[in-house]
Symmetry: D2
Subunit: 352 residues, 4 copies
């Protein structure tokens, strides 16, 4: 039984961490930090937790928390963790950071896209980018700091990874069109997130400048073994949870000059994902639906080969609060502490 | 480990049974019956179950199933079970019926409200009305047939029960205004249940003649120890899950002629529900919200005393597919087999 | 052609006024007042008005506005108009107030329910309560100040009015259960109005103390010719627009001791509403649906007589932003200026 | 005053035609054809039309109708009109066909994508593809048959047209990712269109084989003056109305080898659309939102130039039932009869 603390526990991602950890047999929650609700009962902020969580919200003193917890989850605004992280904290406790502070290996890219100065770039090198399916080997009992990937990025990367890695698609033609439920926008009280503004509406946002772009490019560049530049366009969809990505790319030719077949493409996905518990490569012809993964840690993936245009259309779906945030954070925690990777994560998707 | 079969497994209630039983440590699902999808993979009908449920849909042969299963759940249309139930089936297996066939003790009331002839009234007497919180003592290892209560009825009865039982309210003035998500309408392909017809819309239906009325009256009559007649009005709400009831009644006077106070009313609720795992009596001033119980087996209850009008407004919320159907069915199963009553039901409500 | 100004033009009710007046052949909008968006283009706040409305948002200087406009609509917070209204303004311009400041004839009731001091009670007496169907005779070219009714109140009153007026129901037993879309909560950036908090959720609020209660009681008391006390319970529904009320009351006996029949009740509704353009008494058996009135100024009404319980269940539906706010305000304006009552209001409900 | 008949009047597009024509000063509706509801009151099928439309539904006898009407709208399944159209009908009446029967100039393409034989290809040549902004000159008092464009196609074509026409983008790289509300799926009672299946869900469908693809390609090929092949992927969004397209393409170089600038691109859009009443080129930086055009005949368009990747991201939004169906049909009718092009179409978008 390890002890866990959450900073930013009253945001949606923080609340989802509470929901998941609540049923994790090896974890006790010892600290729910929330700057906005200090000293209030957590179950008054999240009524679903009434009779389930007795904690009173605490502050965000990471040093103190690090002495009480084996693992700290930070579901905090960009720049927060970078501003307070110290060697002492990392010595006392492992940290899984759900913000973007340690995801980008190149600090100048971080500062350009996030428009803030990075206050502790010295920790970037040893931070592990916690996309478990790609970097599992690096997430061990010796790892101190995990940069939990973004919601869009997890979905975008996993959907294209095998085809980039195997050179089946021409990454120069890769376009990612993403659609997200509104919980991704957080619990901040802003007019654009009001019910009446989101409901019965769909729009793109952050076109050509969304901050998850360089994160996707970083990981796909590793796969391609050369720099990848792509377009990533997120859209806001009137639903609570779920991300769907639709990705388009031209097929390369095989080394022998022939065309890749559907079987080749499926084989590439299976090569990397056949053994992955949380990735479901769907039946031929089925398009992923966000509803089928709701509440779970699964990523559903499939593709269509369009011979007419020479493109492959890749599709992926996940729950942005689970595999896109809290679930993946727990998956990382499981790896950090040597628990079974899916411990506490055998969440059955809820339908309807 | 017991063996369970579900008839009507591809309806929404049946699918929720699968979701819950999937994580129940003492149950193995051996039969998923679905007249519409015989021989199809269950995971092709419910994509959320891909890689989780391998079963092929079977027919609805209850005799055969009863030989293979320790418990049968029937999530079937009204009249189905009454038409096929036999002594043999009940000898072979316990049955938890999610339809209305054995809920009403007076067969003439059933036939009047349901407009169908009851084909096996001989089983009504020994069937237990499985509202666990009220009839727990009758649901034992000797019970063969449980009539699982309706979704509206579970919520309506539990919300008013202590105040009727204690004579605090005048049941002649009781009015129940209920609101339900659309999954309660089932998965049948009907125009009124289409997305565009339900979305951005609210309406009442079944006004003065909804079939759950006599069921509520039956149980509250038991509580009142005299016949209760009431108005129950359901409404269709544009959401998937959840039932909220708002109930109105005039307060009686205390035996000494004085007025009941808020404390009296709260004490009555606590008298009956303080020890109930699945009933949450909320903080004073909080109104139940369906979202706070979504995906869980909880019923959230609270009330407001309006001294100005001499009425108490009672409110209750539950997830119609869980405590209003599949969850309660599993709760009944747990009692039938001597499992912990909340085994497999410690589902944390999912928010948002 | 008259000139109209709107204060509070960037709230939802204000925006709906713009939408309606835009197509009103006798009105020119000369002032869009919005404290929050002064000097911004209105079409940048409401993108739907791009290329349709060129106005720049102005301040809320009523004195100045009154010199430029023939009619002022105030869609402002409670207390605003009462705090600034002067004889000069009323001499210069007619005022249709969409706030509650002049709706309640008894200033002490206003101050008790709204918890604010009324700053100009001297204008209450001559203000007309602008529920056109009831007080049409008082809304004339000599009227200076109209108190436009609340959204819930318009629906609640009109649904019960004929039966109270004719003494068909016992108003002491009257219970009003109301359901509203989320636009009624306004455009303020508050956590409870966020998409993820409202979506897939229903709850009651303001139980026993909602401010529309005394307004409903005031008008039904006039109808009953004696004080009416009732319970009014609003609920928040996950949809943008629409109010549905479900009202319950015991039937009185006829003067001759016999029971009122369905025909009697229908006749009462027809007596008052047969000639009303904006009230639609539905076919027998049809329950009003908010979707059928969306975007229009109609109120749809119907009822069910439940002989079993001796109650009548009355139902009414309207669009809270139209007949519940801006549409009714324009209807009042039409009466004030002698235009055709439905001028600019022949809005066909939009489905789906 | 002309006389209009609608075949398929009880589908969503047919109902929208009724809504729009109801307020068209030059049109009288004389025939509402609906195979499913013959002899029923239209206002019982569409409650919004109660007291507004008195018609009884008729059959789909086009010959008879053509003798009574000046214009016939066919909002019917693919193949219906092609199966019944005759010279006589076209001599008696003009026809605006909302199905796909006469949209594709190459009958073999029609038969390949629609998998049905075309029964009257002889009418294709003289049918005008009624995308008014592109083919206005061909829609005159001499035109007998207009093929009203599809919803996705109208949005997809108009969003890209100026940039293809001017050679600013490389059409070989064009990818169209489209998102539609559910009314586009029609009013048929099918499980995938049920509320609970669509709500809280998003998915792609018809990937690489959606029937609107060749229609988009046909028109953009005309613009490019060479064959255009592209990927078009529709998605189903949990909302009633609205289509958003997000289109991606690589920029060509200018003839002088330099890069196209944002100003160049905007100038191209303005060249074609500056005078278009129904096309709104948004403020720089604003992304189109479907909600801003809801209920209206507008198409909102904008773009982002991404210098980093050398792509332009084009975005367009419309209401699929208005500009995507019934509104455009009325726009065509206005051109056919020499009415003002926006007569009856000055519908102000409804928000929220």
């Amino acid at each position: 039984m390890i002890k866990a603390g959450i900073i930013g526990a009253t945001g949606y991602a923080g609340a989802e961490l509470v929901r998941i950890l609540k049923n994790h047999k090896d974890v006790e929650i010892v600290w729910l930090g929330s700057r906005s609700y200090i000293d209030e009962k957590y179950s008054k902020v999240y009524g679903n937790m009434f009779k389930l969580v007795d904690n009173i919200c605490k502050d965000d003193d990471l040093v103190k928390l690090s002495k009480e917890a084996d693992v700290i989850f930070t579901a905090t605004p960009q720049g927060f963790l970078a501003g307070v992280l110290t060697d002492e904290i990392l010595k006392n406790s492992k940290v899984v950071d759900l913000s973007a502070d340690y995801r980008l290996k190149d600090v100048s890219v971080y500062e350009e896209w996030y428009k803030i100065e990075h206050k502790s770039p010295q920790y970037i090198e040893n931070a592990v980018y916690g996309l478990c399916e790609l970097h599992r080997d690096l997430i061990t009992d010796r790892t101190r700091l995990v940069a939990n990937p973004g919601c869009y990025t997890t979905c975008s990367i996993l959907t294209a990874y095998p085809l980039v890695k195997e050179g089946i698609i021409d990454h120069k033609t890769l376009v990612i069109d993403a659609k997200s439920g509104t919980s991704g926008a957080g619990r901040g009280a802003k007019v654009p997130n009001l019910y009446c503004e989101v409901n019965e509406n769909i729009k793109a946002y952050g076109v050509s400048n969304h901050r998850h772009t360089p994160e996707i490019e970083q990981e796909l560049s590793l796969a391609a073994n050369e720099p990848v530049l792509l377009n990533f366009t997120p859209h806001l969809v009137p639903m609570n949870r779920g991300i769907l990505v639709t990705e388009y790319a031209k097929l390369n030719k095989k080394p022998d000059g022939s065309d890749y077949t559907e079987e080749d493409i499926r084989a590439a996905y299976e090569k990397y994902y056949a053994g992955e518990y949380f990735i479901r490569l769907l039946y031929k012809g089925q398009c992923p639906e966000t509803k089928w993964v709701e509440g779970s840690n699964y990523v559903d993936i499939n593709f269509v080969l369009d011979k007419r245009t020479g493109r492959v259309i890749m599709m992926g779906a996940l729950d942005n609060l689970v595999k896109g945030a809290a679930g993946q954070a727990v998956q990382n925690m499981n790896l950090l502490f040597g628990f079974k990777e899916n411990e506490g994560l055998d969440l059955v998707p809820c339908f309807p």
